[in-house]
Amino acid sequence: MTHRRWFTPWLLAGPAILWLAVFNLWPAVNTVILSFTNAKPIGGGRFTGLENYGRLLDDAQLADALLNSIVFMLVCLPLLTVLPLLLALLVQRRIPGITFFRTAFYTPVIASAVVVALIWGWVLDDRGLVNGLLGQSGLSRSPVPFLTDRWLLLFSAIALTVWKGLGYYMVIYLSALANVPRELHEAAAVDGAGPLSRFRHVTLPGVRPTMVLISALISVSSLRVFSELYVLSNGLGGPGGRDMSVVMLIQMYSRGFNGHLGYASALSLLLFVVTLGPMLFLLRLNRKAA
């Protein structure tokens, strides 16, 4: 006969609960607490009420950063949801040498974001590969300011993110495509459905949950973009700091001996709320479709 003590489940879950409390829950609660203070890294701080939240409304750089993050998300979301699916459909076929292409598309994923951004920085520089080609082909007489123009810098970072993310989402789609029953495709073909019709009525419904998951992942990671913009702009966020993302602002305010931890915490909470928006929208969309 087995004896069960009341604390056995707690004992088993204990380490995980402790881990979550120390490394997830407490930092989150602490961020909320700090956002009501003027805390510095050394010497603590004092309670300042809603001052940091009032300052958010008065921060011109924050308006730019929010716009950048939202544009980043709006462009990345459709591109990184659709292109990897098409890529997955291409490399899904079992033909000789396809493994090479799968590996090639996945390679950028395993490279560090900072290293990739540095390489793109060289490629897009005034004397980089792209400007060299544009100059030699006569398409441009002077270097295109990919890294110093407000919108060109943002779209360069978007291009980098899409290029780097394609392989990752392609692999997720590959596993989803493998779960779409082959018989459905065969039955549709027997009923006279063409490739496009089969894609629309069999493939798409089959990968819909994966699509929603990928969209959610992309919207969160796009709103939290940092490395790509930071490295391409050498940490400055372009002239006037107009290409900063919200995470770059948080980093700028929180670093160093004089880090403004209170304001950086308020920014973090704002970003959290903004991130919730697209997540809730996608959830709702998925429920409706279901």
Binding site: L34, T37, G44, R127, T148, N234, G237, G238, G241, M252
Partner: protein, 429 residues
Amino acid sequence: MRRIWAALTTTALTAAALTGCGLGAGDSKNSDSVASAAATGEVKGKVSIQTWALKPKFTDYMQGVIDGFKKKYPGVEVDWLDQPGEGYSDKVLSQAASGTLPDVVNLPPDFAFPLAKKDVLLDVAKADPKLADEYVAGGVEAYRYNGYQGTFGYPWYLNTDVDYWNSDLLGKDGLDPKKPPTSLDELIAQARVMKEKSGGQDYLMSRKPGLGDLYDIGVKIMADDGKSFTFNTPEAAALLDRYRDAFKEGLMPNGVLTDTYAGNSKLFSAGTVAWTTGGGNYITSLATDNPTLAPKVVASPAMGTPPLYVQGLSIPKSTKNPAAAVALARWVTSPENQAAFAHLTSVFPSTKASANDPFFSRSDGTNAGNAKVIAFDSLAKAKLIQPVEVDDAMGTVVKQQFALAISGRSSSKQALDTAVAQCDKLLKG
């Protein structure tokens, strides 16, 4: 809804309670008692020292200094920690926040300032009244801060900037390497010649101005009380306008706006830019990156006021062994040990007794030797240009706004006003 309000109220009250109770307040040890213990105590026991990026190049030197200290004070034990160059400020910050700073710490004045402000550092002048007599005034001044009583570090080694010119590039583009520019007017004029002769392939200018350039033309960076910034003057706007015009004329690469990977010194070492600035030992380090270029580099005194760079040793008030800490800081920064260090690399001692060492004022005839002598001569008029109050975030704001003005997307006046307003906000925040 009621639940949400309840949660918000609880959070706010918790925040008020925690912060109101002085969460994470600094060390309240009395400076006088620590200083007196340092001045009268016996030098014995364990003492730790932290240096910044001296290993592995200067391991033998530093170990020799420590061995000498142990010989002078038998029975004393020294624990030497050397931190890597990258992320040093973060390391010091975490040590200070957790109260684990070593007994003697290498801190430049801008790192020491926020710690002094929080009452973490010992006023070493109290423990060592002879300090001002033995070290050069500029070095000691660097560790005295507006509105705070005391000297918060022993000056260690000094350096300044020298102008470096690529003589090959200057000659190729019709300029005389023996007559490099000595003012902004000459710099712009020669940059124009270089652009025309090279068809826009070579640049003479590849850096945007900073606060140092404003200081050079007499613009006051901060108010005397250190409570606000004052660099948004018409003179500062006129200077930015000149750089904006030079940028528009194509005398500088686009990269100056963001200091991208091909920043000034990298472009110089790649041989596409003919001018950069660097410390007295720049040619020696360039010889590793570009051995072909290094012998062709010519040094000249920095345009305007040379900046003074100071490294020093500070002692936290929380030290358990103040007497040994002060003795060790004095020993490492003594004239003999500093001279030995300066002979190994082109830095300069901060002790008055070292000023007459002929090693610094005599060149061995090489371009690196000439640069060392120019740097040594420049030290006499070098000044601490950037106020220690300018932190990372303020530095970023200044760069962003200056870049905006130079790109022509904002007027210089508007950019300066925005920079001052944002820096003031950060200063108060």
